[in-house]
Every structure is written in structure tokens, then in C-alpha cells.
Point group: C2
Chain length 396, copies 2
């Protein structure tokens, strides 16, 4: 997408910016919010199409104010340069809000308290929760950006069988995939809402290492290369009969897809093939179910029931450690709404983009199962990561 | 380092763990703090030698409690598995703290409020600020880990001239350096305290792109490949007469060094060479000055004065946008204490590890100047990133 003016604070096309602002204001109105003060990079990118140091102030009516600290060359309606947050109320002037929404689930405590002091008359509402809801329904332009990432993601995965050479470690194969991804335009940055999860360019898990529990809510973890980053590849050689699960970064344009495929060196055995087949069957069943209005937890239940009926429950969503979700919204960040989990209260809407990842960990063999990213439309489900789904044997 | 028991919550050697705990308790005592509740990954890694989902609770006296959510297989004295923070006070029992220190500069507002409700009688102190102070003075083991990262960092940089081929873009060269770094053991993860800065594996800046202001407090920014990540390489071909500044990830074992070197395709010209020489001279002057007791702001002043005396102030620490600091502590995170800035109140101590980066941006040529990471000892300064400092011309 070519922005009209690359220095303008708003990089989205004007009508797209208006559409996003409209959605945010609908949510503000529904929540009884007079003004929104946004600081989080992902939310600023959603609104403006760029990342900058500073805030966006959106009153219920009238023009948004873009408080910019850096970069120093930005221009456009509503841009106000500032050094300290304490300068903001003067710019906002007389229309100080009675209910001010702040990103209380994202901003540090001390920053929220500092902002609250600037608006001592205002009640605080939860902007982070509201923005998660707004961002869970994608616009057509967002869907296009996701389609582009998906196409590149699929293209990179198609090269994986050609990157393997016998004797490689899991890390060596991951590094070659990282290189091809980057040369194809992968931005590297892996945006995760909140600061609880640390991950670098995704995961490649081989054999028994897939069954090593990680600090994170993953079906499969991996020991990692160092205790300071205990997740993913652990540097062991890929052996015959093991599976290689690739779940790597699909951020090619600010909006990322999530995709997993499984490779194997030789036959991974009957149980692994059966579980992989079950994962594909769950995807097919999910594609028939996903419609606006469907409670997310029904997807979780369908998948769990299918895994149990196949006699695979002990391996489903992990073996030594089990994940608490089977799918998640994806877009600017990897962990958006809706969440496909047993107690999820989310209801599917047209415009949701959902990554489904019913996976299994087979002891001594490795992880199997696929992940695709789907767009939910009013009348159909669109797969944004279309690619062969069976286990692909490395040809050596 | 081989931990004795890889599943034990404490991976540091016992005496090292005791040393760190002792330092934390000294700081707690000085601050009148009864208990510390830690959640941030960098702080948990500092204390235990590992990253896990959960909290560390450190009372002024008695045994710390390690509240673990995941991974499920951790063992050791004081490990308590939990699902919700609300279960913690019961475990802590009768000795509830009057002053509880929480990471209020790091944890989201809603999490701090949730924790405060669990200890309704307690006053809140600032654990994030305290831990930054504690972590600014490294132990001998930390210095060893930093030396190891430094040695690998230097080794990878020595290969950069061999990675360049004519016609390459800045991004293509960066990707080849990323690959070599990763194969040499670079963990990829680039830990930054707070959530304001986003960066992937460091920066490679060529020619005019170095002068593009970024959202961050950098002397040199770069446009990046996409507005969602507006920093670093922008995909242009490296041309004759331009400099190539490489400032890439030195995290090889959880403790990272910071290092910049400059390469050039042909002669970058008199002004660039003069500014690069000035940067090296500033480093040499700084190495003579850095002693326990030195106010950090005096280093800033010395460097700025030298840049001004050389007639280079317009290019010093950036040209279109200027950085507000010339150096910073480094360790588990890239932005530790002390900060070398004009209004810094930090005083140098033995055990500080400081990256100095006096840099210049020369319009139409690119960025010059070097960055080294130094350990400040009682009687000397040790360079952790020793490598040739002159501009290295690509041999084509």
C-alpha cells in the first residue's frame, strides 16, 4: 500500500481511517466513554497505520489529537509535539472528559497513575479491553493485509523441504527458515499483547523436545537453547522417525498469519499419522461450524470430543503439559480475540480472523497437527494459509 | 554453565543465588521494604537463572517462595504451584508485609491493582526501580556471562566483511549477519525494559537511511521495511561512498553485550573519517575517566565537548533527530543503569557494565562511530567487545 504522504501521521487511506475511528467511537459510546487515550504501539498502529512515540487522544466528538514525541518530522491534522504527558491537558482544553479510557491492562501502573493525575476529575475506563474487542473484527483492508502475509507465509513453508539436509540440528533448520522468511519480507517482529510471553521468530520442535513443558500456555514447548529463553529448538540432531513441527512468524506487513505444518524424516509411525489426521479432521469440522454467532467454546468442545473419540486425548494439546486453548484471534498481534477455549465467552463475528491449532504431542516421536488462519465471513470461511496439510516427508 | 539439576527452580550456583538474594535484601532494608513480589521475566531470570510463568516472593527474612504456574515440572525449596494470584496470601501466611514492593514501572495497572487488593494492609513500594539499581552492579558470574557474549559478538563481527557481496541491499546483508549470529548461538531475543521500543535483532544502517528519524531515542533510526516497524534497514542497495553501521544483537547467553562497528564500500570521505576518529577518541577519553564515583553526566559532557571542539556537533548523536543519551548500562536488558545522559543522576560503581556509543550521522554518507561494552572495575576499565575500531572497507 502506497501512502499518499509518507510523513503524514495517518498512513491508512482516509476512508479506512474514518472507518476505524467510527468503530472505536461506536465502542466508546456503548461503554459511556468520553475520551480515549492510547499509548500502546499495536493500538496506535491500528489507528494511524504507523508506530510513533506518543499518544492518540480520541474525544467522543471532534478531531483526534496525535501527541508526538518522535519521530520529529511527522505532519498532519491534529499533530501536536510534546515532551511530557503533563502538557496534554492544556492542549485538550476545556472539554476535559468525565470518563477517560486508558490501556490499564497494558500500560505500567506508574504511567496510568501519572495519566490519571492529569485528569483528576475523570473516571478511568478500560481502553485495552475495548480495543481488543474493536480489533477482533477486521476491515476489508485488514483482511487484504492478512491475505498478503498468508500468501508469503505459504510460499516460505513450501521451501522448507528443500532447506533440510541430513545431520542438521533443529536449530540449524530453524535458522535457514528464518533466513528465507526474512529475505521474503518477514519483518521479524512478533507482536504479543502483554509482556508475559517471549518468543523469537516462532518455534521449530523436533521429537521428544516438543514434550518439554515451557513457561507459556502452549501445547508444545521445547527446552530452548538457554535457560534465559526456555522455549523452542534445543540444538539436537533431527533423527529418523521424528516429526518436525514448524510454527514460525508470519508477520510480513504488520498483520500476521499463524501457520503450522509438520515434516518428518522417514515414517513417524501409526500413532503420529493418526493424530495428524485427527487434527486435519478437526479443521474440516471447524470450517463447517464457524459462522457469526457461534460461541467460541463450542469449537473447543467439538475438537476435544473428536480427539477423545479417536482415543487421542492423552496427547491432545500437549502431553506432559496441556494448553488451555485450541485457537485464537490474530492480526497485529498473535493473541487477539476471540479465544477458542473451554470457558471462552467470545462469540464469533463476521470479520474475525482465527488461527486454529489442534495439535498432539506423541512421546518419543514429536508434535503433529496443523494450524491455519481463517477469516470468518457472513456466508463462508476463508483459509488464509492454504497449503498441503499432510505430514511431508523430507526426501533424503 | 551446567546447572546441577536442570529442573530445580534455582539454576544459578547456590552461592551465586545467595549473593543476589543478599544484594536484594540489602536494597530492601535500605528502602524499608518488608517483602518483594517479582513478576517481570528479566527480574525472575536475575534471581533464579530461569524464566517461568509466576512470581517470586521475597520476605525481608526467611525463605523466598516461588509461585509457579508453568512449566509444570519445576522442583526445589519454596516452589508452590498456583493458578491465580489470589492464592498467594494464604501461602504467605501470617507474616503479611506492611510495605510490599511491586514492579509498578513494569506491571500493567490492572495487575498491580489486583495484587494490591490481596495485601490490603500493605503500602506499595517501587520494586522495578529497586531492581534496576541492584542489577546495575554485576556479580563476577554476570561479568563472565557478559564476557562470553562479548567474545561471540566480536567473532560474528569479524565475519561481516566476508558476508558482503556487491549489489546487496542493507536488508540482505543484515539477514546474512542474523544467520551467522544465530548459528554462533545468538538467542535472538532482544530484551528491552518497558514496552516502548520495538527492534528486531538490532540495526544495520546504510547511507542516507541512517538519518531517517525513528520513533525511538536513537541517534540514528532508519525507515525500516514497513510502517508497522519503522526502524532500521529500508531495503536499498549499498552504494559506493556510503557507510554501513552494524549495531546488532549480542545476546548469546541471557546477558548481552552491545557493539557497533562501521564498514564502508570505498572511501566514505574526509568528514566521515574525521567523525569516526572523534568517536574513537571519545572512547579512549572515557576509558581514562570511568572510575567508581564518577557522575555519569560528566561522561556525557566530555563527549559532547569533544564533538563540539572537533566542529562536529551538528552530526553528533544524530543529525535530523538527536539522541538524548550517549551510553547505557547493559546486562539482561539493553537499557539498564547507569544512563549516560546530560541530566543523569547516576554515579558509576565498580561492577557497572556500560555500552558507550558516541556516534555521528553524516548526511548523504551515513552513520559513523563505534560502540563498545565496558566493565568498570575498582582499578581499571575492561573492554568486553575488543575488535578493530577503524572503518573497515569492504574488499570488492
Amino acid at each position: 500500500m502506497q501512502p499518499i504522504d509518507k510523513d503524514n501521521i495517518i498512513l491508512w487511506p482516509r476512508d479506512e481511517f474514518g472507518r476505524r475511528l467510527g468503530r472505536i467511537r461506536e465502542a466508546m459510546k456503548a461503554g459511556g466513554v468520553d475520551a480515549l487515550l492510547i499509548s500502546d504501539n499495536a493500538n496506535k498502529y491500528y489507528i494511524t497505520g504507523r508506530v510513533y512515540a506518543g499518544f492518540v487522544y480520541i474525544p467522543a466528538e471532534g478531531m483526534p489529537v496525535f501527541f508526538v514525541k518522535r519521530p520529529v518530522h511527522l505532519v498532519g491534522d491534529g499533530v501536536v509535539f510534546f515532551r511530557k504527558p503533563e502538557e496534554m491537558p492544556e492542549t485538550i482544553g476545556l472539554n476535559l472528559p468525565a470518563v477517560l479510557s486508558l490501556e490499564i491492562d497494558l500500560l505500567p501502573y506508574s504511567m496510568v497513575v501519572r495519566l490519571q493525575k492529569l485528569f483528576p476529575e475523570a473516571t478511568t475506563a478500560n481502553a485495552s479491553a475495548m480495543m481488543r474487542e474493536v480489533r477482533s473484527v477486521k476491515t476489508d483492508l485488514e483482511l487484504d493485509l492478512l491475505r498478503r502475509s498468508g500468501a508469503k507465509h505459504v510460499h516460505v513453508y513450501s521451501r522448507i523441504p528443500h532447506l533440510f539436509t541430513p545431520g542438521m540440528t533443529d536449530l540449524e533448520l530453524q535458522v535457514e527458515i528464518e533466513r528465507v522468511s526474512r529475505l521474503e519480507g518477514c519483518l521479524g517482529q512478533f507482536r504479543i499483547s502483554g509482556d508475559s510471553m517471549e518468543l523469537y521468530m516462532g518455534n521449530l520442535l523436533v521429537g521428544e523436545n516438543a514434550d518439554t513443558p515451557s513457561p507459556y500456555d502452549f501445547a508444545m514447548g521445547g527446552a530452548g537453547m538457554d535457560p534465559s529463553l526456555p522455549v523452542g529448538a534445543d540444538g539436537t540432531v533431527i533423527k529418523r522417525g521424528e516429526t518436525v513441527m514448524v510454527d514460525m512468524n508470519g508477520n510480513y506487513d504488520g498483520y500476521m498469519t499463524d501457520m503450522t505444518r509438520v515434516y518428518a524424516l522417514g515414517d513417524p509411525g501409526e500413532l503420529a499419522r493418526k493424530a495428524h489426521r485427527c487434527s486435519i479432521d478437526i479443521h474440516h469440522a471447524a470450517c463447517k461450524m464457524m459462522k457469526p454467532g457461534l460461541p467460541a467454546k463450542e469449537l473447543w468442545k467439538m475438537a476435544e470430543d473428536m480427539a477423545e473419540a479417536a482415543g487421542l486425548k492423552a496427547y491432545y494439546m500437549g502431553h506432559r503439559q496441556h494448553a488451555g486453548f485450541m485457537g485464537h484471534g490474530v492480526g497485529i498481534e498473535i493473541n487477539e480475540l476471540p479465544v477458542i477455549a473451554p470457558k471462552s465467552r467470545d462469540i464469533l463475528s463476521a470479520g474475525n480472523v482465527i488461527a486454529l491449532e489442534p495439535k498432539f504431542v506423541i512421546p518419543h516421536v514429536g508434535a503433529v497437527g496443523i494450524e491455519n488462519t481463517y477469516a470468518v465471513h457472513a456466508d463462508r470461511v476463508e483459509c488464509l494459509t492454504p497449503a498441503p496439510e499432510d505430514i511431508i516427508e523430507f526426501d533424503v
